[in-house]
C-alpha cells in the first residue's frame, strides 16, 4: 500500500500520556533544524548527489523488474490454458408418467338429415361401423363418445411399458342413397391435422367431424384452401368442441362449390381427432362413401402408399358420362405456404419390373391442384411426391361396376389415399373387417429394412424384407391386429379392394409428447 508522501516527515509521535514537554527534546522537530541545516548541507552536497544516483539506479532496476513481471503476467494470462473448476448441478430427467393410451374411431357415416330427409341441419349416423381394437398389453376399454352424432368410439387401454393400442373400423353401406365401403383407422388426438380430400360441388357432400376425447375443451380454428386460393368464411375460428364430445361441420357451410378443398385443423386446449367424410351422389345414383383421415403434415417429400388403381377398363368407359368426371383417378396437391411449389410426382407400381410414371406439377402458393392421373393398369401403386416447398397430397381412386339392370344402380366406390408419416420403431395397427385387406409397406430410404410383423394371435413374428426404395405388400387377416417392429422409417397403409368397394387408411405411430424431458433448477 502506498506510503502517503503528503506529510512532512517527523519523528515518532509520542503517546498521549507523555507530556508536551517532551516534544522539545525531539531532535527532528523543525525548531531544531535551521541552525544545523546550513553546515550540514555544505558537507553532504557530494553525498546527496551520490545518493541520488544510487536511487536512480535502484528505480531503474525496480522498473525493469516491474515491466518484466507485468509482461510475464499478461503473457501467462493470455496464453496459459486454465481448466474450469466446478460443476453446477445437472437437471433432472423426468419421464412423464405413462398416460392411458387413447384413440378415437371416427364412427359411422353421417348423412345430413334423417332417413326421411327431414331435419337437414343435423347429421345423423347411418347404421353403425364395425370396430376392431387391440392393445398389446392389457385390455381395451371401448366407450362411445357421448353425444357424438357418428357414434364415434374412444378406445382406451391402461398405461404399461411398451404398450401399443390400435383399432380400426369399417362400414359397408348399400342403401339407396349411400353405398360403398369405408374404412378408417382409430387415431390419437392431436392439436394439428391436415385433411386433403372431399369436395363441395353439386352432389358431393363433405362433412368435417371434430372429436374431442380429452377432458379439456378444445378451441378449434380451421384454414381451408381451394383451387382458387385460401377460403375465408365466418365461423372458421373459435369453434368450441366441448370435452368428450364431437362436432360435425359441413364443409359446404364454409366454402361452396369447392372442387378441391384442403383443410388445416388447429386446436388449442383439448386435442381432437379430425376426419372428413365424403359421399357422392350422381343424379339419383349413389357414388360411394369414404372416410378420410388426416394426412402427413406439409413436407418436401410425401409418400402415398397403397393406392389401388382401378385400371383403364372399368372406369375409363364411364368417364365421359355426365357427372362422372370425378370417377377418374386424381392426385390432389396442396401448397399452404407462400411460395409456389414445383412437385415431382412419381407413380410407382408395386409390381416389380413395371415402369413408374413421373410428372412435374406446379402448384401455386396457397392453392390446391387436382391433377388427373392417366389410368394405370389395375393394381396397387405408391405415389411419391418431391417438392421444393412443403406440400401435402392425397390420391383419389375409384372402382366402377356397371349396373346389372336398368333399375339397379352401378356399383361404384371411391377412396382417398392420403400420405402417410414415417413409422417409429414399433407400431401397431388393426385390419378392419373387410374384403382382402392388404398391408403396404414402403421403404423410401436407401437401405433395405427388415421389419417384423406379428399378429396378435400368432406366436411368431414374420420377417418382412422391404427393399430400398421399394414396396412390400402382405395380405392380412380381416379383423385382426398386428404389431410392426424394427420398422423405423417405413411408411405403411392398409387397403381394401373388392367389387364395388375400395377403402384404405394409413398406419401411424404414437405421438412424441410422452418422451422424457429434463427439468433444471
Amino acid at each position: 500500500m502506498p506510503e502517503p508522501t503528503n506529510e512532512q516527515p517527523t519523528g515518532e509521535q509520542p503517546a498521549v500520556e507523555q507530556p508536551t514537554v517532551e516534544q522539545s527534546a525531539d531532535p527532528k522537530s523543525p525548531a531544531a533544524k535551521p541552525p544545523a541545516a546550513k553546515p550540514r548541507r555544505d558537507r553532504s552536497a557530494a553525498d546527496s548527489a551520490a545518493r541520488r544516483r544510487a536511487l536512480a539506479g535502484l528505480r531503474a532496476t525496480t522498473g525493469g523488474v516491474g515491466v518484466l513481471v507485468a509482461a510475464a503476467a499478461i503473457a501467462a494470462v493470455g496464453l496459459l490454458p486454465l481448466p474450469s473448476f466446478g460443476e453446477p448441478s445437472p437437471g433432472l430427467s423426468v419421464t412423464p408418467q405413462r398416460t392411458a393410451l387413447q384413440q378415437v374411431c371416427p364412427g359411422a357415416i353421417l348423412r345430413l338429415g334423417d332417413d326421411t330427409g327431414q331435419d337437414a341441419g343435423t347429421a345423423t349416423a347411418v347404421d353403425g361401423a364395425v370396430v376392431r381394437e387391440n392393445a398389446t398389453v392389457g385390455s381395451v376399454d371401448s366407450t362411445g363418445l357421448p353425444g357424438a352424432a357418428s357414434a364415434a368410439r374412444v378406445i382406451t387401454s391402461a398405461p404399461a411399458e411398451d404398450a401399443l393400442l390400435s383399432g380400426a373400423q369399417s362400414q359397408r353401406l348399400s342403401g339407396s342413397d349411400l353405398t360403398g365401403f369405408a374404412a378408417a383407422g382409430c387415431r390419437e388426438a392431436s392439436s394439428t391435422a391436415w385433411l386433403v380430400g372431399g369436395s363441395t360441388t353439386v352432389g358431393r357432400t363433405t362433412l368435417l367431424t371434430l372429436s374431442n376425447p380429452t377432458g379439456v375443451e378444445a378451441t378449434v380454428a380451421l384454414r381451408i384452401w381451394g383451387e382458387n386460393g385460401a377460403v375465408s368464411a365466418p365461423g372458421m375460428s373459435g369453434i368450441i368442441v366441448p370435452a368428450r364430445s364431437q362436432r360435425v361441420l359441413s364443409l359446404a357451410g364454409f366454402a361452396q362449390n369447392l372442387a378441391s378443398p384442403m383443410v388445416e385443423v388447429v386446436s388449442r386446449g383439448g386435442q381432437i381427432v379430425a376426419a372428413l367424410q365424403q359421399s357422392i351422389t350422381r343424379g339419383v345414383d349413389p357414388g360411394g362413401v369414404d372416410l378420410i383421415g388426416d394426412t402427413a403434415a406439409p413436407s418436401t417429400t410425401q409418400t402415398i402408399p397403397g393406392v389401388q388403381m382401378p385400371g383403364p377398363d372399368t372406369v375409363g368407359a364411364q368417364l365421359g358420362e355426365d357427372g362422372y368426371a370425378d370417377l377418374a383417378s386424381a392426385l390432389r396437391l396442396g401448397n399452404p405456404g407462400t411460395e409456389d411449389a414445383t412437385v415431382d410426382v412419381a407413380i410407382v407400381p408395386e409390381k416389380k419390373g413395371a415402369e413408374a410414371t413421373t410428372q412435374r406439377i406446379p402448384v401455386p402458393a396457397g392453392t390446391t391442384v387436382d391433377v388427373p392421373i392417366e389410368e394405370q393398369p389395375v393394381g396397387a401403386y405408391t405415389v411419391s411426391l418431391e417438392s421444393d416447398v412443403p406440400v401435402v397430397g392425397a390420391m383419389r381412386t375409384s372402382v366402377f361396376s356397371p349396373a346389372a339392370n336398368a333399375q339397379a344402380a352401378p356399383k361404384t366406390d371411391f377412396e382417398w389415399s392420403v400420405a402417410a408419416p414415417a413409422l417409429a420403431e414399433r407400431s401397431a395397427f388393426t385390419a378392419a373387417v373387410g374384403d382382402a385387406p392388404q398391408l403396404h409397406l414402403v421403404n423410401p430410404g436407401r437401405t433395405a429394412v427388415s421389419a417384423t410383423l406379428q399378429s396378435a394371435q400368432a406366436a411368431k413374428a414374420s420377417v418382412l424384407e422391404v427393399p430400398a426404395r421399394g414396396t412390400l405388400t402382405v395380405p392380412l387377416t380381416s379383423g385382426s391386429s398386428y404389431t410392426l417392429g424394427d420398422a423405423a422409417g417405413l411408411i405403411g397403409s392398409v387397403s381394401y379392394r373388392g367389387s364395388g368397394a375400395v377403402a384404405g387408411y394409413v398406419i401411424a405411430s404414437p405421438g412424441p409428447t410422452s418422451s422424457p424431458i429434463t427439468i433444471r433448477r
Binding site: P4, Q13, P19, K33, G91, V94, P96, T214
Partner: protein
C-alpha cells in the same frame, strides 16, 4: 509532646530504587524516630537489602509480609508496632521507589503540628528526573463518586500551593496519625492500589478529621502506584480497569443500604453504556476492562461488607460534610476540558496532510462532470420506478420483507429451503431502506448516481497518492469511466457496481487506518460491504490488507481487526457452505445468476469482462475488418494508461507505485481465477464467476500507479493525463453509446416480472405462488416457484443456487413440472395443492430462440393446454406475451406451511455486537488532521529544507 514518626517502607521487587529511598530517608532534616521495612513477597534481593538496612540503622526493623499490596504491607508493619501512646504518634507511608526530599518530613510535620484536627497530610509527588513536574498532589471525588486527581502531571508553578484542604491525598508519602490509622483499620483491603489513599481520607473526613496537602513537602516517585506488586508496568487499559473497579467498590461501600440493589442491577447496563461511550471516544481497549470490572464487582466483591461496617462504626459526620470538597459543576467541566485540550495538543504535533482541496482543487468539478456523464447515459432511468433486466430484479415491496430476507432462516427462493442469507441481502436491505416508500427506487437512484459516486470516491482516494490537484481529477474520471463499471451497469450486475463504488473508499480508509481508529473501523465495514457485493474479491483484498499490516507493524492494534466485520457477516453462510462440502461456493456472486460469454485471457487483460472487446468487435465487423481488430484497437487505446502506470516505477515516488501495481496484478489474477470457477448454472449454461470485480481492482491499481506517475512528471504529466483520459474515454465509447441508446439488458421497468393478472392478485395476497416453466435453448426446461408479485432481488440466494445436487423439494417440483410439460397420466392436482400453486406461467419466447427451444415451448404449452387441472387465462396468452394458466379453485390464501425458524440467535447476536461495535468505533469524534494544499505550480518543488529525506 514531641510527635513521634514511624516510617514504613513497603517494598516488592524494588531493589533498583530501594537504595535511593533508604538514603533519602536517612538524610531527612527531621529524622524519623522508627523505621519499619516491609518486604512483600519479593523475588529479588529486596529482602536482603532491607535486612541489611535494618541491621545497620538503629530503631529499624525489617519484616516480611504477605498479600502483595501496599496496604497489606502497611497493615503488617503497624501490627508490629507497640500500641499508640498518644495523639501525636504518626506513621509515614513510603514505597520502595518513593524517595522523599530531605525537607519533606519537616514540612509535613510543620503543617500538622499546629493543626490538631488534621489526621492525614499528603506531600507533593514529583517526578524523579524533574522535581518541578507534579505527578500527584491531592485528589477528590465528583458528585457521583468518580475519583478525580486534582493535579496530574503538571508543572509546579506554585499555582496549587494555596489550597490546603482537600478531600483526599494519595497513599504515597502520606503522613497519618497512628490512632486514626488504627481506628480506621488502615487501607481498605478491597482497594489494593487505586483510590486507597482517597478512601482512607474520606473515611477520616467522615470521622471528623481533616486532610491537608502540604506544598513544601516533596516525594519522588518512579512508577505509578498501580504498578506495585506487578512484574511489568501496567498499561493504560489496565489502569482504567483498576480505576473502574475501585470506583465500583467505593460506590458499593458508600451508597445507602436501600440503593444497593439498584446499583447492583445497574452494573451491566452501565457497563454497556460506558462501553458505547468508549467506542465513540475511540478507546476500544477500554471495553474489555469495563465489562471485567462490572462482572468482578457484581460477582466477586471484595470486602464490601467489611468496608461498610468500618464506615458505619466510625462515622461522625454525614456526607453533606464532605460535599463542599467534591469537584462539581463548573470546576469539573473546566478540568475535563483542559484534559481534552492537552490530549488534542499532543495530537496536533502531527504533520498536516498535503493534498488537493475538494472545492478549490478541482474535486467538485470532476464530480460534476461525472454527474453530467451519468445523466447523459442514464437519462432513460429518470422517473422510472424500477430498473429490470439482465441481472436486475425489483426489490421486495416492503421493508419488513427486505430485512427478514436479510436474516438467515427460511429462504423463499425456489420451493423454499432453510438456509443462511447472503451477506448481500443485508446490503440490499440497507439500500432499500433508504427509499423505504418504494425500495426499488433505490436501485434506480444508484444507477443514476453511480458515475458521480465513483468519481467522488476515486478523487478522495487519489488525494492520498499525489499532492497535486491534477492527478486526482484524472484518476476520478478514469474510475468513473471504467469498462468494468459500465459493463456491469449495462448488464445489471448490481454486486459488481457496488463493489466498484466501494473499493476506493476502502483503500482510502485502509491507508488512513494506520493513524486513526475511526478510519480503521470504517475500513472494516467497507471490506464487509465490498466482500458482500463481490465475494470473488475477498482473497485479493485480504492479501492487500495483510501486506499493509505487515509493512506497518506499529499500527497492528488498529489494523488487525479490519477483517472482523467481514468474518461476522459471512460466518453463517461460510459455516453452512463448509458443512455442505462446497467451500468454494462462498465466493459465488450474489444476486441473479446471469449467463455471459467468457472472454479470453487477452481479453481480460484488456479489461473486457465478457467477449466482444467491449463493443469494438461489433464495430470492427461492421466496418469490415476481422473481429480481432477490435481487441487490437482496445489494446492501442489502453496503451497510454499502461505505459503511464509502468513508467511510475522509473520515476520519483516509485515506492508508492509498487503496491499499486501489486494490487493491479492481484486484480488481474482474481479476474482470471473467477472466470474459471464454475459454481452455478443459468438454465442450461454453466456460469463462471463474474471477472468484472477483479478487473475493477486491476483498473484501480493501474490508475493509482498512473496518478503517481502524473504527479512525478510535472508539466509533462498534464499532457500525459489528457492523452490517457481521452484514449480511455474512446475505449469505453461503444459501452457508453450502448447505455445511452438503451441497447443493454437493463431497462427501465415497472417492477412487475409476472403477468399483470398475477400481479393484481398478488397485491392482495402477497404469498400467492406461481410456477414458472421456462423453455431453454438446449431443449430442456427450467421450473421455479415464484411467490408474490414476482421474483425479487433480495430473495435470490447463493445457498440454493450453488447446491451441487437438486434438493428433494426441487426434485419433486421438477417431476411435477416434467409431467405438466408432457402428456402424462399423473394427476397433478394433489401436488399443485400441496405446493399451493395458483398460477402456471410460461414466459414469452425470446427473440432468436433456437429450434429446440421453440419445439419444447410448443410441447410445454400444448401439454399445459391439454391438462384438465389447469384453465387458460386470457386465452392462454396475456398481453405481455407470457402464457398463463390458473389452477381452478386454488385458494390463494392457502399458504404452504413456512416453518418460521428464527435464525440461530447466538450467531445473530454475535454478528450484531461485532457490527455495532465497528459502527460506533467508525463514528468520527476526534478533530481532523490539518490539511494543507500544495501551493507550488507544476514544475516548482516545495522547498528542500524540510523534505531532504523524502526520496527514501
Amino acid at each position: 509532646m514531641q510527635p513521634r514518626v514511624t516510617a514504613i517502607v513497603v517494598a516488592h521487587n524494588g531493589e533498583e530504587h530501594l537504595g535511593r529511598t533508604l538514603a533519602a530517608l536517612s538524610a531527612q532534616t527531621r529524622p524519623v524516630d522508627r523505621t519499619v521495612l516491609v518486604d512483600v513477597e519479593s523475588g529479588d534481593g529486596t529482602a536482603a537489602l532491607l535486612d541489611a538496612a535494618a541491621g545497620s540503622a538503629p530503631a529499624a526493623e525489617s519484616i516480611r509480609a504477605t498479600g502483595r499490596t501496599f496496604g497489606a504491607g502497611a497493615r503488617a508493619a503497624t501490627r508490629t508496632l507497640p500500641p499508640a501512646e498518644g495523639a501525636d504518634e504518626w506513621i509515614w507511608l513510603l514505597a520502595a521507589d518513593t524517595a522523599p526530599e530531605p525537607a519533606a518530613l519537616a514540612a509535613l510535620l510543620g503543617a500538622v503540628e499546629v493543626a490538631p484536627s488534621v489526621a492525614i497530610a499528603g506531600p507533593k509527588v514529583v517526578d524523579r528526573d524533574d522535581h518541578a513536574l507534579l505527578l500527584e498532589y491531592g485528589g477528590t471525588m465528583t458528585a457521583l463518586g468518580t475519583s478525580v486527581a486534582l493535579v496530574d502531571r503538571e508543572l509546579d508553578q506554585a499555582q496549587f500551593d494555596r489550597d490546603d484542604d482537600v478531600l483526599g491525598v494519595g497513599a504515597t508519602g502520606m503522613l497519618v496519625r497512628r490512632h486514626v490509622w488504627d481506628s480506621l483499620e488502615g487501607f481498605d483491603a478491597g482497594l489494593p492500589s487505586t483510590d486507597s489513599g482517597l478512601d482512607l481520607s474520606v473515611r477520616a473526613r467522615l470521622a471528623g478529621h481533616r486532610v491537608v496537602r502540604v506544598p513544601s513537602a516533596r516525594v519522588e516517585r518512579v512508577s505509578p502506584p498501580q504498578d506495585f506488586g506487578r512484574r511489568r508496568p501496567t498499561r493504560v487499559s489496565t489502569r482504567r480497569r483498576l480505576a473502574r473497579r475501585a470506583q465500583l467498590h467505593r460506590r458499593f461501600a458508600y451508597a445507602p443500604g436501600a440503593a444497593l440493589p439498584i446499583h447492583w442491577l445497574a452494573l451491566v447496563p452501565l457497563a454497556l453504556f460506558r462501553s458505547i461511550g468508549h467506542l465513540l471516544a475511540k478507546r476500544p481497549s477500554a471495553v474489555g476492562g469495563e465489562f471485567a470490572a462490572a462482572f468482578a464487582a457484581a460477582f466477586a466483591p471484595r470486602g464490601v461488607g467489611a468496608a461498610r461496617g468500618r464506615i458505619r462504626r466510625h462515622r461522625e459526620l454525614g456526607w453533606a460534610a464532605v460535599a463542599p470538597l467534591r469537584l462539581t459543576g463548573m470546576a469539573l467541566r473546566e478540568r475535563r476540558s483542559s484534559l481534552r485540550e492537552r490530549a488534542e495538543e499532543t495530537r496536533a504535533g502531527e504533520a498536516p496532510l498535503v493534498r488537493a482541496e475538494f472545492f478549490a482543487g478541482g474535486g467538485i468539478w470532476t464530480v460534476l462532470i461525472a454527474a453530467a456523464l451519468g445523466a447523459g447515459l442514464f437519462w432513460w432511468l429518470i422517473g422510472a420506478s424500477a430498473v429490470q433486466g439482465g441481472g436486475l430484479l425489483p426489490l421486495s415491496g416492503s421493508i419488513g420483507e427486505l430485512w427478514s430476507n436479510a436474516l438467515g432462516g427460511w429462504r423463499e427462493v425456489g420451493v423454499g429451503t432453510r438456509g443462511p442469507a447472503d451477506p448481500f441481502a443485508v446490503l440490499l436491505a440497507l439500500l432499500g431502506s433508504i427509499t423505504f416508500w418504494s425500495p426499488s427506487v433505490a436501485i434506480v437512484t444508484l444507477w443514476i448516481v453511480a458515475l458521480p459516486l465513483a468519481a467522488l470516491g476515486a478523487w478522495w482516494c487519489a488525494t492520498r497518492m499525489s499532492r497535486r490537484a491534477w492527478p486526482p481529477a484524472v484518476a476520478a474520471l478514469l474510475w468513473a469511466l471504467a469498462p468494468p463499471l459500465l459493463v456491469a451497469l449495462g448488464d445489471g450486475r448490481i454486486g459488481a457496481v457496488i463493489a466498484h463504488l466501494a473499493l476506493p473508499w476502502f483503500v482510502l480508509a485502509l491507508i488512513e487506518g494506520r493513524r486513526s481508529w475511526s478510519a480503521a473501523a470504517t475500513a472494516g465495514l467497507l471490506l464487509a460491504v465490498t466482500a458482500a457485493a463481490a465475494p470473488s474479491l475477498l482473497p485479493a483484498l485480504l492479501i492487500a490488507w495483510f501486506g499493509w499490516l505487515v509493512t506497518h507493524p506499529r499500527a497492528l492494534h488498529r489494523l488487525i481487526a479490519v477483517p472482523l466485520p467481514t468474518l461476522a457477516v459471512f460466518a453463517p453462510l461460510a459455516l453452512a457452505q463448509l458443512g455442505r462440502g462446497t467451500p468454494l461456493a462462498i465466493f459465488a456472486d450474489p444476486g441473479v445468476v446471469l449467463h455471459y460469454a467468457a472472454s479470453s485471457g487477452w481479453g481480460l487483460s484488456l479489461l473486457e469482462p465478457r467477449d466482444g472487446a467491449n463493443g469494438w468487435e461489433a464495430i470492427a465487423a461492421a466496418v469490415g475488418l476481422g473481429h480481432v481488430y477490435g481487441q487490437v484497437l482496445v489494446a492501442a487505446l489502453l496503451a497510454p494508461l499502461a505505459a503511464t502506470a509502468l513508467a511510475a516505477l522509473f520515476l520519483r515516488g516509485s515506492q508508492r507505485a509498487i503496491p499499486a501495481l501489486v494490487l493491479a496484478l492481484l486484480g488481474l489474477l482474481t479476474a482470471v481465477a473467477a472466470g474459471h470457477l464454475v459454481l452455478v448454472a443459468d438454465g442450461a449454461d454453466a456460469v463462471a464467476l463474474w471477472p468484472g470485480a477483479g478487473l475493477s481492482l486491476f483498473w484501480m491499481g493501474l490508475i493509482a500507479s498512473g496518478a503517481v506517475a502524473l504527479q512525478s512528471l510535472d508539466r509533462l504529466g498534464v499532457l500525459a493525463g489528457v492523452i490517457v483520459l481521452v484514449c480511455s474515454a474512446i475505449a469505453v465509447g461503444p459501452l457508453g453509446v450502448g447505455l445511452a441508446l438503451r441497447q443493454t439488458p437493463a431497462q427501465a421497468g415497472t417492477g412487475q416480472t409476472l403477468p399483470a393478472a398475477v400481479g393484481a392478485q398478488a397485491a392482495s395476497t402477497p404469498r400467492i405462488t406461481t410456477l414458472v416453466i421456462t423453455p431453454l435453448a438446449d431443449g430442456t426446461a427450467s421450473a421455479e416457484i415464484v411467490r408474490g408479485s414476482g421474483a425479487a432481488l433480495d430473495r435470490q440466494s447463493t445457498w440454493v443456487a450453488t447446491n451441487p445436487r437438486l434438493s428433494a423439494d426441487e426434485r419433486r417440483l421438477a417431476t411435477l413440472a416434467g409431467n405438466l410439460s408432457s402428456r402424462s397420466g399423473l394427476d397433478p392436482r394433489d401436488q399443485l395443492r400441496d405446493l399451493g400453486i395458483v398460477y402456471v406461467v410460461v414466459p414469452k419466447a425470446v427473440d432468436g430462440a433456437s429450434t429446440e427451444q421453440a419445439a419444447v415451448r410448443v410441447r410445454i404449452t400444448e401439454a399445459l393446454d391439454g391438462t384438465a387441472a389447469l384453465t387458460p387465462v386470457g386465452a392462454g396468452q396475456t398481453r405481455s406475451g407470457d402464457a398463463l394458466w390458473r389452477v381452478p379453485g386454488a385458494e390463494p390464501a392457502e399458504i404452504p406451511a413456512a416453518p418460521s425458524v428464527a435464525p440461530a440467535p447466538v450467531l445473530t447476536t454475535v454478528q450484531l455486537i461485532v457490527l455495532g461495535a465497528t459502527v460506533l468505533l467508525a463514528v468520527p469524534t476526534r478533530r481532523r488532521r490539518r490539511v494543507v494544499s500544495e501551493t507550488g505550480l507544476p514544475g516548482e518543488d516545495p522547498a528542500d529544507t524540510f523534505a531532504e529525506d523524502e526520496d527514501a
